[in-house]
C-alpha cells in the first residue's frame, strides 16, 4: 500500500467512525427529545403516564375557560369524544378563543390535569393546526365547513 492510498484509507475510516458516532448521538437525542402529539381520545385510551411531556390538541370547549389566581387560566380541550382539563399560567395567545383549535405543550399531573407550559392557537382566522384537524377527523367531529388552510 503506498502512502497516498494509506492516507486515504485512514481518512475513510475516520469518516465512517465520525458518521457512526454522529448517527448514534443524533438518534439518542431524537429518542429522548421528541414530543408526541395526542388527541384527548388518545389520552383517554393510552393512559399516558403523569409527568411524561407531550402535546395535546383539539378544540377549546365552549364555556370551559375560567381564571384562577393571578394569571392562571383553566380550560378543557375536547375532540368531541373525550375531554382533558388544562391548567396554564401565562398570557394566552391572541387567537385563543372558546370553540377554536388549540395546541398545548406540557404533561399530566397526578390528578389528570394537563399542566401546560406553552399554549399555541392558530395564527389567523383561516388557519387550524393540521394536527387538530386530523384529531377531529379521527373522532368524527370534523365538519367540512371548517377550513383547515
Amino acid at each position: 500500500m503506498n502512502p497516498r492510498k494509506r492516507r486515504r484509507l485512514y481518512f475513510a475510516v475516520a469518516l465512517v467512525l465520525a458518521g457512526v458516532g454522529g448517527a448514534v448521538l443524533v438518534l439518542g437525542a431524537l429518542k429522548d427529545n421528541v414530543l408526541y402529539f395526542y388527541s384527548p381520545s388518545d389520552v383517554a385510551k393510552h393512559h399516558v403516564a403523569a409527568g411524561t411531556a407531550f402535546r395535546i390538541g383539539g378544540l377549546v370547549e365552549k364555556g370551559s375557560v375560567s381564571h384562577g389566581a393571578g394569571a392562571e387560566v383553566r380550560f378543557v380541550v375536547t375532540d368531541g369524544n373525550a375531554q382533558v382539563p388544562v391548567a396554564f399560567k401565562g398570557v394566552l395567545p391572541d387567537l385563543f378563543r372558546e370553540g377554536q383549535g388549540v395546541i398545548a405543550m406540557g404533561a399530566l399531573d397526578r390528578s389528570g390535569v394537563f399542566d401546560a407550559s406553552e399554549v399555541l392557537a392558530k395564527h389567523d382566522e383561516k388557519y387550524m393546526p393540521p394536527e387538530v384537524v386530523a384529531a377531529l377527523k379521527k373522532s368524527g367531529h370534523w365538519q367540512e365547513g371548517q377550513k383547515p388552510q
Binding site: N33, L35, G90, V91, E125, E131
Partner: protein
C-alpha cells in the same frame, strides 16, 4: 387591464425562459457564439417581462383592484400604502412571482457580467433558464396571481396583521435574494460540470454571487429572528420552528461553501466538494420552499395547502436535485484534484469548517424532516423540540467556534499551529479573564455561562489580534477585514444568545391601575389603559411607568391591537433597549378590572442581531474587495500573496 398585462408578461416570460434554457445549454459547446448571444439576450428579455408582471401585480395591490383574486384575498383599502405593497409577497401567489423576479435579476446580472467567460456563462444561463421555466410553469398552472373575480367585490379581506410590520416588510425579499441567489452558484456549478471548466476561474466567477446570497440570507434570518422576538410576545428569538430551520440549513451550507470556494480559488483544493456544496445549498433552498409553501408544516408561513402545489414543487425538487447530483456523480470524478496540503494549513481549517457546518446542517435536517417522515410512514405525530437541537447542533458549533480564530492565522498549503496559537495568546488571555469574571460575578454561578462567554471573547479578541498583527490597518486588504468582522460577529451573536438564555428574568402579574410589579431591578407601574385608533386597527394601549432605584426613567406603551377587517388581534410589545439589555413588555388579557402584564429583562439580547449585522458587514467587505480587485490579473495576485 393590469391583470391582463401581467398575465401576458408571465406567458411571454415562460416562452423566453424556454428559449434561454435551450440556447444557453447549446452555447456550452465549443464555437457556439450565436447560441450564447441568444441566451444572454433572452436573459435580459426574461428580466424585462418578469419585472413587468411583478410591477402590474404591485400596481393592482396599490390601486386595490379587487377584481383580481389575490388582491381581494390579501388587501384592503384601509391598509397603509407600505403594507399594500408588502402584501404583494405576503401571500403564496405573489411570493412566487417575487421568487421568479429575483431569479430573473440574477440571470440578467450573470448575462451582463459574463464572469468566467462566455462558454461558462452560457451554460449557467441555460440552467437558470430551466429553473425559471419550471417556476413560471408552476405559477401559471397552480398559483396564478392574476385570476379574475366576477363580479369584483367592493372590499378586500385584508392581510394577516402579524405581517403588517416594517420588519416583515423587508424580511421576505431579503430571504429570497439569499435563497434564489444560491441558484446562481448552483447554475455555475452545473455549468462547470457540463463544460468541464471547474477551475479557479469558475470559483472566482461564482464567488460574488455566493457572497451576495450569503449576505442576504444572513440579514434575512437576522430580520426574521428580530421580528419573531418583538412581534410574537414570547420574548424568544429562535424557536427551532421547521420554517426557521428551512432558512438556517441553506445558510449553514452557504457558509461552508464560501469557505471551501476560498480554497478552490486560491489553490484548486476541494474542487468537487465546492461544486457539491453549491448544488446542496440551492437544493436546501428548494426544500425550504417546498416545506414552507406546500402546507406540510403548520406555520404562519404556510399560505397554501393545495396538494397539487405540493406535488408540483416536490416533482420540481426531485428533478432539479436529482439531475444536478447525477451530473455531479458522472462528471466530478473526471476533475483533476487540487494540490496537496499539509495537515497544518489553512486548507485543513477550511476542511474542518466544512465538515462541522455540514454536520450541523445535517442535524437540523434530520430534526426538521424526521417528524414529517414518521407522520407519512406511521401516522404518528411528533415534534422535535429545542432540547434535540441543543444536544446535537450546539456541540458542533462549540468545536467550530474554538477553531475559527486559527483559520486566518494559518498559511496556505503549509502553516504552523503552534505559531498561530502563540500569536493568538492575548485572545486566549481575554477568554480566560472573561470566563473567570462571568463565573465570579454573574449569578447563578454557572460553568456553561463562563464557557460560552470565554468562547465569545476568544473569537472577538482573536479577530482584533489578527487585524493588529497584520500591520498597517489602512493598508490591509478587504479580505482581512471580512474575516475579522464575520468571525467577531459570530462571537457577538453567541454573547447575545448566552446572555438572554441564561440571565433572562421573567415576570407575569395581574395588575390593576396603580399597582406595581418588580422585575430585575426595575419597578413597573400600570397607570392606565386607553383605547386608541390606528389606521386600520383599534388598540388597548397601556401606560406603564418604569422606575429604577425609585426614579422614573421611562413610560412604555405595550398594546393589544384588534384588526376588524381581518377579525384578528395582535400583541404589540414595547421594548426599551440600552443596547446591552432589553426591558420587554407585552400586554395580556383584561380580567377582574386589571390586565395581565408579561415582562422580561433580557441581558445582551440586542447582541444577537448586532452579531448578524457584523457577519453581513464581513460579507460586504469581502464582496467589495472582490469586485475592486477584479481588474488585477491572477498572476499578480498570486505573486502578492
Amino acid at each position: 387591464m393590469t391583470g391582463e398585462i401581467g398575465q401576458l408578461a408571465l406567458c411571454l416570460a415562460l416562452a423566453l425562459s424556454a428559449v434561454m434554457a435551450v440556447a444557453g445549454l447549446l452555447g456550452a459547446r465549443a464555437n457556439a457564439g450565436q447560441s450564447r448571444a441568444v441566451a444572454s439576450s433572452t436573459a435580459m428579455g426574461l428580466l424585462v417581462f418578469v419585472a413587468l408582471a411583478f410591477g402590474s401585480l404591485i400596481y393592482a395591490f396599490v390601486t386595490s383592484d379587487f377584481s383580481i383574486a389575490t388582491v381581494y384575498q390579501n388587501s384592503h383599502t384601509l391598509k397603509p400604502l407600505i403594507y399594500k405593497i408588502t402584501g404583494v409577497w405576503g401571500n403564496h401567489e405573489g411570493s412566487m412571482v417575487l421568487w421568479v423576479f429575483v431569479l430573473a435579476i440574477y440571470s440578467g446580472i450573470m448575462a451582463f457580467a459574463q464572469r468566467g467567460g462566455e462558454r461558462l456563462t452560457s451554460a449557467a444561463l441555460g440552467v437558470q433558464g430551466l429553473l425559471a421555466f419550471a417556476f413560471l410553469l408552476f405559477i401559471l398552472f397552480t398559483s396564478n396571481p392574476f385570476l379574475r373575480l366576477d363580479p369584483p367585490p367592493f372590499e378586500g379581506l385584508g392581510l394577516n396583521p402579524l405581517l403588517q410590520d416594517p420588519g416583515l416588510a423587508m424580511h421576505p425579499p431579503m430571504l429570497y435574494v439569499g435563497y434564489v441567489g444560491l441558484s446562481a452558484s448552483f447554475s455555475y456549478s452545473a455549468a462547470a460540470l457540463i463544460t468541464g471548466e471547474a477551475n479557479a476561474a469558475w470559483a472566482r466567477a461564482a464567488r460574488p454571487f455566493m457572497l451576495f446570497a450569503w449576505i442576504a440570507l444572513t440579514l434575512g434570518i437576522t430580520l426574521g429572528s428580530w421580528w419573531a422576538y418583538y412581534v410574537l410576545g414570547w420574548g424568544g428569538f429562535w424557536f427551532w420552528d421547521p420554517v426557521e430551520n428551512a432558512a438556517l440549513m441553506p445558510w449553514l451550507i452557504a457558509t461552508a461553501l464560501l469557505h471551501s470556494a476560498l480554497a478552490t480559488e486560491r489553490t484548486g483544493a476541494f474542487r468537487s466538494w465546492t461544486l457539491l456544496l453549491a448544488i446542496l445549498g440551492f437544493s436546501l433552498s428548494l426544500i425550504g420552499t417546498f416545506l414552507v409553501r406546500s402546507g406540510v408544516l403548520s406555520s404562519v408561513h404556510a399560505f397554501a395547502n393545495d396538494p397539487e402545489r405540493g406535488v408540483f414543487i416536490l416533482g420540481m425538487l426531485v428533478t432539479a436535485i436529482g439531475s444536478a447530483l447525477a451530473l455531479f456523480a458522472w462528471r466530478a470524478p473526471q476533475l483533476q484534484s487540487g494540490t496537496a496540503f499539509d495537515i497544518a494549513s489553512k486548507e485543513t481549517t477550511l476542511l474542518l469548517n466544512n465538515v462541522l457546518l455540514s454536520a450541523a446542517a445535517a442535524t437540523v435536517f434530520i430534526g426538521t424532516l424526521y417528524p414529517l417522515l414518521l407522520d407519512a410512514l406511521t401516522g404518528e405525530k411528533i415534534s422535535v423540540g429545542p432540547p434535540y437541537f441543543a444536544l446535537t447542533f450546539a456541540p458542533l458549533f462549540v468545536v467550530l467556534i474554538l477553531l475559527v480564530p486559527f483559520g486566518p492565522r494559518l498559511g496556505w498549503r503549509k502553516g504552523d499551529w503552534r505559531e498561530a496559537l502563540l500569536v493568538l495568546r492575548p485572545a486566549l488571555g481575554v477568554a480566560a479573564v472573561a470566563a473567570v469574571l462571568v463565573f465570579a460575578i454573574a449569578t447563578p454561578h454557572s460553568l456553561v455561562a463562563a464557557g460560552a462567554f470565554a468562547l465569545a471573547a476568544w473569537t472577538i479578541a482573536a479577530a482584533i489580534v489578527d487585524l493588529v498583527r497584520r500591520g498597517d490597518l489602512r493598508a490591509l486588504p478587504a479580505s482581512a477585514y471580512a474575516s475579522a468582522l464575520a468571525h467577531a460577529g459570530l462571537g457577538i451573536t453567541l454573547m447575545g444568545i448566552a446572555g438572554t438564555t441564561m440571565w433572562r428574568s421573567e415576570g407575569l402579574e395581574l395588575l390593576k391601575p396603580g399597582q406595581t410589579m418588580p422585575i430585575a431591578g426595575y419597578t413597573l407601574r400600570l397607570d392606565g389603559v386607553e383605547m386608541v385608533q390606528g389606521p386600520n386597527y383599534e388598540a388597548e394601549r397601556a401606560d406603564i411607568a418604569v422606575f429604577s432605584n425609585g426614579r422614573a426613567i421611562a413610560v412604555m406603551h405595550p398594546e393589544k391591537r384588534d384588526y376588524p377587517a381581518e377579525g384578528q388581534a395582535t400583541t404589540d410589545t414595547a421594548i426599551r433597549t440600552t443596547g446591552f439589555s432589553d426591558l420587554y413588555l407585552a400586554l395580556g388579557d383584561q380580567r377582574d378590572g386589571g390586565w395581565v402584564l408579561r415582562a422580561y429583562v433580557s441581558p445582551l439580547a440586542p447582541f444577537i442581531w448586532f452579531g448578524g449585522v457584523f457577519m453581513a458587514l464581513g460579507g460586504l467587505a469581502s464582496l467589495w474587495g472582490r469586485l475592486r480587485r477584479r481588474a488585477v490579473p491572477l498572476e499578480q495576485l498570486a505573486a502578492a500573496e
